[in-house]
């Protein structure tokens, strides 16, 4: 890249700009008149006009001026300019793929229409169409029902239409179409050229056609024979969306096909059934098979520009900052390289040489279609058509050289995912150490014991305070009726059943209020664990309604010495207590803290 001067010279447009809505596949360069001046041909597709049906026309530009316009009978998938034979003077033929046929133009006059062969229909469908015209109208429904049993996509068009018609329209429709062939015809979704033999100047070519039924055909445009028939995949869902071909027909060629759901298949001359190379999670927006190193480039909907080998190995990947809209190979024979132009959503156009970005420019809006090649008298012309239909033409400066930047080579991975560039020669940012921090450390060294001692003292003091507060709280609420006036008053009564060592402690909780509900209550039992074993010490209560007492029970087992079956000696009449606490959620102090005196336990039987 030479300093600040751009590699592409902008061609100034005169007066009004021609408006053009098109796709990359619908543009081509051709010496239509055979006068050595290469003109730009493009199909202008008008979809946006609400009043009219979608229509398209073929426009021929000489330089930047539109010279001719010709309406097309449908919306073209692709336009190609090719030579069909070696006879001199060589005149190119324009092939336009529309729906299921290819129209051939010579000197801009249509001279042949080729329609791709229909597929065999289901036997049942044939049978139905044999019967439909002859049977009574009232039996039609049954026949149509049987048609519905067949996969809808596999029906011929007239059957599909018939199923959509109302009952009244059917007889007329059947009468008109009784004799037409029952066959499913695919729509051509992609068309491109493949040279028959490799020679330098304008060799005769064949056409590669892909249909939405998943078939790949190669059409020989002299006698209009299909010289190659392939299939993307053995099952039906593989609808091709993008295709790229390399090689020559006579020697060997490869076709890569991307389907609408992100699978990529490879077909060879020797292998007419596609083999899956890889599957991407997102649909592709562009696919290229590069001529020299035979790698496959794919741009995807998740803003990636990836390169795969033919065996499906990911060679490199570049993360783009926005969606790649279309990609185009730029073969620069004078430099011996093939650049890839990637037009991004937003208007940027980037040029990649392998994984390295070597050039870019930004336009005002997203580029929809691109075309590169010899146009007029210039060899390296890049034509860009933006979303709003503006046509921009750029010419490559002859002195331009494209080389990866040194720092890109050093960093190897371009546009690598993490942009936090880590600088190697930085100084560690250590946490700050204030003088107080150092002083404290020194002081601690000398007075560690004192520090620790005072900590221990404070800890014990804290524990002491906490214990005292607990005792106070329990003692102050020692009654059977809650004294807190802010909540509903609750009464607790207890009853002990059994003769030991297992007892059952029944508690009755009663709401003394007349209208307030006592909710969020919890009962906690506490006893000296050397004396009593309580399985469940905590129980959350349901809300207690006024007037309806709630009865709950707990199991309390006296701990007995396993040897002499006697209660422990420390258990006296005075301390055989189980403390019952009734607590409310969110309140530190218990509502009621009562002590239940347990009877003396008998020895077990």
């Amino acid at each position: 890249m030479a300093g600040g001067t751009p590699n592409w010279l902008h061609v100034e447009m005169e007066d009004e700009n021609p408006r053009l809505t098109t796709l990359t596949s619908c543009m081509t360069l051709s010496d239509v008149q055979g006068d050595g001046y290469i003109r730009l041909l493009a199909a202008d597709i008008s979809l946006e006009d609400e009043a009219h049906e979608p229509s398209a026309s073929l426009k021929v530009f000489r330089g930047l001026k539109m010279k001719q316009e010709q309406p097309l009978p449908g919306i073209p998938t692709a336009i190609e300019s090719l030579y069909i034979d070696e006879t001199e003077p060589k005149t190119p033929v324009i092939a336009v793929a529309i729906a299921e046929s290819v129209l051939f133009y010579r000197h801009l006059k249509a001279y042949f229409k080729y329609t791709i062969p229909a597929l065999d229909s289901d036997d049942l469908e044939l049978e139905v169409w044999r019967k439909l015209p002859v049977v009574q109208a009232d039996t039609h429904n049954a026949l149509l029902e049987s048609l519905r049993g067949i996969d809808h996509a596999k029906l011929s068009r007239k059957s599909q239409r018939l199923l959509q018609l109302t009952e009244a329209e059917r007889p007329a429709f059947i009468r008109t179409h009784r004799d037409s062939a029952v066959g499913r015809v695919g729509t051509i979704v992609i068309m491109c050229c493949i040279k028959r033999v490799s020679s330098d100047a304008n060799p005769p070519s064949h056409l590669v056609l892909a249909t939405d039924t998943g078939h790949i055909f190669i059409l020989e445009p002299q006698g209009f024979n299909l010289v190659y028939q392939g299939k993307t995949c053995s099952h039906e869902t593989a609808v091709p969306s993008l295709l790229s071909v390399q090689g020559t027909y006579e020697t060997d060629f490869c076709i890569v096909v991307a389907t609408r759901n992100g699978r990529v298949y490879l077909l060879r001359k020797s292998n007419s059934e596609g083999q899956e190379i890889f599957k991407l999670s997102n649909p592709l927006t562009g696919l290229l098979l590069l001529p020299i190193d035979q790698t496959i480039l794919a741009s995807t909907m998740d803003n990636c520009y990836q390169c795969f080998s033919k065996r499906g190995k990911l060679l490199y990947q570049v993360q783009l900052e926005s969606l790649p809209v279309c990609i185009l190979p730029l073969t620069m024979t004078h430099l011996g390289i093939t650049l890839v132009a990637v037009a991004l959503r937003g208007g940027a156009v980037k040029f990649f040489l392998q994984r390295y970005q070597v050039d870019e420019f930004v336009l005002e809006e997203t580029v929809d279609a691109m075309l590169y090649g010899r146009m007029g008298m210039e060899d390296h012309v890049l034509t860009l058509v933006t979303q709003s239909g503006q046509m921009i033409v750029k010419i490559l400066r002859r002195v331009s050289r494209f080389e990866p930047r040194a720092e890109a080579l050093a960093g190897r991975r371009l546009g690598s995912s993490d942009n936090k560039l880590i600088d190697g020669s930085s100084i560690l940012d250590k946490p700050k150490k204030s003088s107080i921090f150092v002083e404290q450390a020194a002081r601690e060294k000398q007075q560690a014991k004192a520090t620790y001692g005072s900590f221990q003292v404070e800890l014990w003091r804290l524990r002491h305070t906490a214990a005292r507060a607990t005792i106070n709280a329990i003692n102050s609420s020692e009654s059977t009726i809650s004294g807190d006036l802010t909540h509903a008053p609750v009464k607790l009564s207890a009853e002990v059943c059994g003769s030991g060592p297992a007892f059952r402690l029944y508690l009755t909780v009663q709401n003394l209020s007349t209208f307030k509900m006592a909710s969020n209550l919890t009962v906690l039992l506490h006893a000296d664990r050397r004396h009593y074993a309580i399985q469940q010490t905590l129980s959350r209560l349901p809300s207690v309604l006024p007037g309806i007492p709630l009865r709950i029970d707990f199991e309390v087992v006296t701990v007995l010495d396993p040897m002499d079956k006697l209660p422990p000696s420390s258990l006296t009449l005075d301390n055989s207590l189980v403390r019952v606490m009734l607590m409310k959620a969110g309140q530190a102090k218990p509502l009621i803290a009562a002590a239940v005196t347990m009877p003396q336990s008998e020895a077990p039987f």
Partner: protein, 482 residues
């Protein structure tokens, strides 16, 4: 005689009926319908949703097979965040062609995006049943959903089962497809089950698909570190650094840890400082930095680094342990006590921790508690199976302590334990020196009781020093973040 226009010819006295010219009546062909699904697809991939909607709106009623129109409509709705509509349209598309597995997958994905995981799981299971061939995407999603279900599952047993099933699906996905994500997920699951070698194998396979993938390389090297294959880990990391000058913090952290374990402290600090610039808030990073400074005997810097680590992640046991170790080494026993208390509260099963606590309390003149702590640490170390990391130092320190406080029989007993534990270990000379010293002291003190207090106290202090020097890197150099 032929009259133009008439259909009869008088020929040889006979009138011949002319054959009708309409021999082949052209069969009326179906109007060539504008099937522009292909154009719709192009616009869809270009995110030109407005154009798509206009196109669909016009075509929907007259299109012969609206399946793809509904499909695209559903995808657009999903892209625009309108999930309910998306589901409705995808469902519609599925009604038109119940064979289309792709539609199933998209419905499943939509449900996944919506967070209706159990429904998504059902859809993918159905898709798996219907799919005529092995589809790694379905497997991947099934694995993903089951894995997710397992992590949210409360019942242990069910969760285990789901996780195993998830792994089986990821294995299938890896076998049938070449998806990076499936490989990474499978490795993650293997890693979770501590099958590190398998995880490495999976990732190595993945590396064949996408060479020069730094994230995978780093993951592999971290796994190698887990199984103590330092050299291999080092090689992998060197590869990463070759591929791209810059390396993710995770890789640098691993790189630094390796250098650190090879005593190249300055190299390690160099790596760490690179991370610290990009992403300073990693607790493990500051832990390792602190240990580096500790190794260089820069206590203040070490303490402040480790305190930063603890501040970033207060429940990090390793950082707490290391901090307390440095506190002890720099004789800040009161702080050491608090840090140790925090560490022990997090993990109550570490003998070394109690040992340090005991030594610390000893220094703080709390002899009773010191004895309790050391006794517990000794009991724990005895309880541990022989194979688990043995640490005879625990017994040595306890023996020294016992000797110092006059519990001579206990000291002798602990000394014997120390000997039995230390039998076939390579011990630092420091330990051996202290041990022989204690041995002679014990022998002497059998005769002259409690005469050599001063000497014993001195020896204990060096033992602490030895502990501090020896432990940090081996036990606690935290390698990975997760």
């Amino acid at each position: 005689m032929y009259e133009a226009g008439s259909e009869q010819i008088n020929c040889n006295g006979r009138i011949i009926e002319l054959p009708s010219l309409e021999v082949v009546r052209p069969a009326p062909t179906m109007p060539s319908d504008a099937n522009i699904d292909w154009l719709l697809h192009i616009y869809f991939t270009r995110h030109e949703f407005g154009r798509c909607r206009r196109l669909i709106g016009r075509e929907l009623n007259r299109h012969l097979n609206a399946e793809y129109l509904y499909f695209v409509l559903g995808l657009i709705d999903r892209e625009e965040g309108n999930h309910i509509e998306a589901l409705r349209h995808l469902q519609r598309s599925l009604e038109l062609n119940p064979q289309n597995i792709e539609t199933y997958k998209e419905i499943g994905r939509t449900l996944y995006v919506m967070g209706r995981f159990s429904q998504a799981l059902d859809v993918f299971r159905e898709a798996e049943q219907r799919s005529p061939r092995k589809d790694h995407e379905i497997y991947h999603y099934l694995g993903e959903l089951l894995y997710r279900a397992a992590t949210t599952q409360t019942q242990q047993e069910l969760a285990k089962k789901q996780q195993d099933e998830a792994r089986a699906y990821f294995e299938l996905a890896v076998q049938t497809g070449k998806k990076l994500e499936s490989h990474v997920r499978l490795a993650e699951l293997y890693r979770k089950d501590k099958q590190y070698q398998q995880a490495i194998d999976v990732l190595e396979n993945c590396l064949h698909l996408t060479p020069e993938n730094a994230e995978v390389l780093i993951e592999i090297s971290v796994l190698y570190l887990k199984i103590n294959e330092t050299q291999k880990a080092y090689d992998r990391l060197a590869e990463v650094v070759n591929i791209e000058r810059k390396c993710s913090p995770k890789g640098l952290l691993a790189f630094g840890a390796i250098l650190q374990s090879r005593n190249d402290v300055d190299g390690a600090l160099g790596k760490y400082s690179q991370i610290a610039n990009a992403e300073p808030e990693i607790a493990e990073l500051w832990n390792n930095i602190g240990l580096c400074f500790f190794k260089k005997q820069k206590f203040i810097a070490a303490v402040s680094s480790l305190r930063k680590s603890v501040w970033l992640s207060p429940l990090n046991y390793n950082a707490l342990y290391n901090l307390s170790l440095i506190y002890i080494a720099s004789e800040q026993y009161a702080s050491a006590f608090h840090t140790l208390a925090a560490a022990i509260n997090l993990r109550k099963d570490n003998a070394e921790c109690y040992m340090l606590l005991g030594l610390c309390l000893r220094k703080l003149d709390d002899v009773d508690n010191a004895f309790v702590a050391l006794e517990r640490s000794s009991n724990m170390a005895t309880g541990q199976p022989q194979s688990a990391a043995r640490n005879p130092l625990v017994f040595l320190n306890f023996a020294l302590f016992c000797y110092e406080t006059g519990r001579l029989t206990l000291a002798a007993e602990q000394y014997n334990r120390f000997l039995s534990q230390a039998q076939d270990l390579m011990l630092p000379t420091e330990y051996k020196f202290q041990a022989t010293k204690l041995k002679s002291l014990l022998r002497i003190s059998n005769h002259v009781n409690g005469m050599l207090q001063l000497d014993a106290a001195d020896s204990e202090e060096t033992a602490v020093g030895a502990a501090a020097d020896e432990l940090p890197l081996e036990v606690n150099a935290v390698v990975s973040q997760n």
